[in-house]
């Protein structure tokens, strides 16, 4: 260690042998790598001291650290020797612990799919329901039955009535009738001519 000239001069005045020869080399040996690892060895020790409750409390509050830590409350004699659980301990088998998240996810997904499918199917059929085709049902009805129905229920068209009326009303003129009957042969027409004297046909 270098000494200042002032100190050297002072030492020379006090103890010339020390001052002049400059015996300043320290004879002590330091373990190899001592200073390289000093910091990292020191930190765990500091932490351990901090974690020690006594040391910690001494730093925070020497007053509290110096107190007797015995709790002053009294306990009935023989309390700990005689301590027993006074209530009956349950002896029934332990309740099965059901985890919140069941492992059987596949079953849950399958159940959800079935329910969704059922709801979708019901919705599909309710919106796309087609009842029996009324025209095909009519083919099973004979002409005589049809005529009887029309006569018994007094179903007839009154030309000029509005679409709001419950009965259908169609205005036919002669051109319409010609168009409608253009594909009907005379033989077929004759089948529909009633054999009733004096009755006028009403067009349907």
């Amino acid at each position: 260690m270098e000494r200042s000239k002032e100190i050297e001069a002072e030492l020379s005045g006090i103890a010339p042998a020390l001052g002049k020869n400059g015996i300043s080399v320290q004879p002590y040996q330091v373990p190899a790598g001592y200073f390289e690892h000093f910091a990292e060895n020191l930190l765990p020790k500091i932490k351990a001291e901090e974690e020690n409750p006594d040391t910690e409390l001494n730093i925070i509050s020497p007053l509290l650290a110096g107190l007797n830590r015995k709790t002053p409350y009294r306990v009935p004699d023989q309390y700990f020797n005689e301590f027993r659980i006074q209530k009956d301990l349950p002896v029934s088998p332990e309740a099965r612990i059901i985890p919140i998240h069941s492992g059987n996810r596949l079953m849950r997904y399958a159940a959800a799919a079935v329910i969704t499918g059922a709801i979708a199917t019901a919705a599909f059929f309710s919106f796309h329901t087609t009842g029996p085709d009324p025209l095909s049902a009519l083919t099973r009805v004979s002409d005589q039955e049809m005529a009887n129905y029309l006569e018994n229920h007094d179903v007839h068209w009154v030309p000029g009535t509005s679409a709001a009326t419950p009965t259908a009303s169609v205005n036919f003129d002669e051109n319409d009738i010609s168009d409608l009957l253009s594909n009907v042969s005379d033989t077929e027409l004759e089948q529909y001519l009633p054999d009733l004297p004096g009755q006028k046909r009403t067009t349907n």
Binding site: S61, L64, L67, R69, K70, Y73, R74, I85, L89, I97
Partner: protein
């Protein structure tokens, strides 16, 4: 004998039907005093502390077979005891329909009512000072001061970070010191 058996050995004995009751008795003997004092420091009164300790060990009986050993057994026991104390305090609040402050002054009154109470003695002043603290801070202080519980274990008992617990303890100690110096 209770102190000699390890917690792992105790758990193994408890899980066997033939030795379950014997293991439980050993466990009670091993931990009763530590748990009792933890509870008593919270509740002050012996009768209340005895009731809560009964409840603690009943819960231990019911739950010990499923204890996963991911924490120290005594940490787990302390957690049950702490929760039972807090539950008891909540029930007292509801019964009496008083505020928490009134309950705390009630506990201070219980301390003063103790037949051995001596206001001049520091250990009694310390109890009064502890009961001035908010509930959770009180628990932190007593666990560290009396039980010398490491912060990492305390964090498992109270489900709070070790850093927060350390800060809480420091504040608690300062408050208690101020109380003692000024009363």
């Amino acid at each position: 004998m209770a102190e000699q058996i390890t917690d792992s050995e105790l758990l193994a004995l408890f899980r066997e039907p033939a030795t379950k009751e014997k293991a439980f008795t050993i466990l009670v003997k091993k931990y009763q005093e530590r748990l009792y004092w933890h509870i008593r420091r919270m509740l002050v009164d012996h009768e209340d502390s005895n009731d809560v300790m009964q409840n603690v060990f009943i819960r231990v009986w019911n739950a010990l077979a499923n204890f996963r050993e991911d924490a120290q057994l005594y940490t787990w026991l302390y957690r049950i005891a702490t929760n039972e104390c807090l539950t008891f305090i909540e029930q007292q609040k509801k019964k009496a329909t008083v505020s928490m402050n009134d309950l705390e002054s009630g506990l201070s009154n219980k301390i003063r009512a103790d037949k051995d109470f001596d206001a001049n003695k520091l250990e009694w002043k310390l109890q009064l000072a502890i009961h001035q603290l908010p509930e959770k801070q009180r628990i932190v202080f007593t666990l560290r001061y009396y039980d010398e519980m490491p912060y990492e274990e305390m964090s498992q008992v109270l489900e709070t970070s070790a850093g927060a617990l350390k800060a809480s303890y420091h504040h608690a100690a300062k408050k208690i010191e101020d109380f003692i110096l000024n009363h």
